[in-house]
């Protein structure tokens, strides 16, 4: 009983703490940027893998649509929550600009991929793949640089 | 009359038969009650002891049903429990009493020599007639499990 109620309290605390709280230091901001880049990287690389699968005809359209849609939603959520973070000092401004731009590239790339998959347009899928691959590598460098 | 450390001395029936000496909390309390047909009646929610002045107390009844369980869940939880049940069954909530001479064996489950007392089936019967019987297939036996 006591365990259940404390679990409920813990859960609600986590849900509150999980949402992006205010960031007061540049180091804290870097950590948030690192987390956001990690999630974007995961989304972009998933997009690349799905594009490969689509081009080889290795999966059915409903699967591809759902899978791309899943990571596109993730990337959009990361992008909007990162955009609402206030950089504590101007020192963080370049990092903000970089991650923000890469977030935009990721969501765009995934949107193009989704459109291409749905239309069965393999040229569009190939273009989206190339863009996501490039974005992924850049995100990788951000992740390494903010560790 | 010392029975030593023999098997029937220890509170468990090695087969049918009643133990000579047993611990109530260990061997009786909170055990499943099954009636003569093997139908689950409830748990031994409490045990009643009574005595005549100057005599040893004797085991006078096994108590079951929410009326016996409620007081055991004392504290805040127990009080809530009692209020809740008071609302469900306003007609007084006396526990169901089972005289010890109706017990065939105590462990591992309390087996009775009679069918279940009717009071133990009030909620069960209500739910059956008002809900379960009305869903198609309610009377269907799960033959593979038999």
């Amino acid at each position: 009983m006591r365990r259940t109620s404390s679990a409920v309290v813990a859960l609600s605390l986590l849900l509150v703490a999980g949402c992006a709280g205010p960031v007061r230091t540049d180091a804290g901001y870097r950590e948030k940027a690192n987390q956001s880049a990690l999630h974007l990287l995961s989304a972009a690389r998933t997009g690349v893998a799905l594009a490969d699968i689509a081009r080889k005809g290795d999966a059915f359209t409903p699967y591809l649509e759902t899978s791309v849609g899943d990571v596109e939603d993730d990337a959009l959520a990361v992008r909007s929550s990162f955009a609402t973070l206030q950089p504590p000092t101007p020192v963080s401004d370049p990092l903000r600009a970089r991650v923000d731009a890469l977030a935009e590239h990721t969501t765009h790339g995934l949107a193009h991929l989704r459109i291409g998959v749905r239309r069965g347009d393999m040229d569009a899928v190939a273009r989206a793949r190339a863009a996501l691959l490039l974005t992924g590598d850049r995100l990788d460098r951000v992740v390494e640089g903010t560790r | 009359m010392n029975t030593g450390r023999g098997g029937d001395d220890t509170g468990h029936g090695a087969g049918p038969g009643l133990p000579r000496v047993m611990r109530l909390g260990f061997a009786v309390l909170d055990r499943q009650i099954l009636d003569v047909d093997g139908v689950a009646v409830g748990k031994v929610d409490d045990v009643e002891l009574s005595w005549e002045e100057g005599r040893r107390p004797v085991l006078s009844a096994l108590l079951t049903d929410t009326g016996a369980l409620g007081p055991r869940l004392s504290g805040r939880l127990g009080r809530t429990w009692r209020t809740l049940l008071g609302r469900l069954r306003p007609s007084g909530d006396l526990p169901v009493r089972i005289p010890p001479d109706q017990v065939h064996t105590f462990t591992p489950a309390t087996r009775l020599t009679r069918p279940a007392p009717p009071q133990t089936r009030v909620v069960e019967d209500w739910l059956r007639t008002h809900l379960i019987e009305r869903i198609p297939g309610g009377g269907h036996a799960d033959s593979d499990g038999q």
Partner: protein
């Protein structure tokens, strides 16, 4: 005819002749009479709620590596036969003997 429920006896405090605390009621021992009814034989009294609640001492043996631990937890366990009960009160059960005279094993009771 006075009645009492087993659950209200379990956990009740037990003191000896001089008022010194022996422990709390862990279990109630009953024995079968020739007429088939069960009568009270005595109380198992102990201090460790953990060991007492699980019911060690009857058919239940502690798992091999925990023998020592359980024996240690049960070191205060005593058997209080009905003959040595002076009074069953609302709060405490009073014994008519000194706690040092009580034996640990409930089964060693002469019957």
């Amino acid at each position: 005819m006075p009645t009492v429920t087993a659950s209200s006896l379990l956990g009740r405090e037990v003191v000896d002749r001089s008022g010194e605390r022996v422990g709390a009621v862990h279990d109630i021992v009953v024995r079968r009479r020739d007429d088939g009814g069960y009568e009270m034989a005595g109380f198992v009294v102990g201090r460790s709620a953990l060991a007492g609640r699980f019911g060690y001492g009857a058919t239940l043996a502690p798992p091999t590596p925990l023998h020592g631990l359980l024996a240690w937890l049960r070191r205060h366990e005593r058997y209080l036969p009905w003959e040595d009960v002076a009074d069953i009160g609302e709060e405490v059960i009073r014994a008519s003997v000194a706690s040092a005279d009580l034996t640990p094993a409930w089964r060693a009771e002469p019957r």
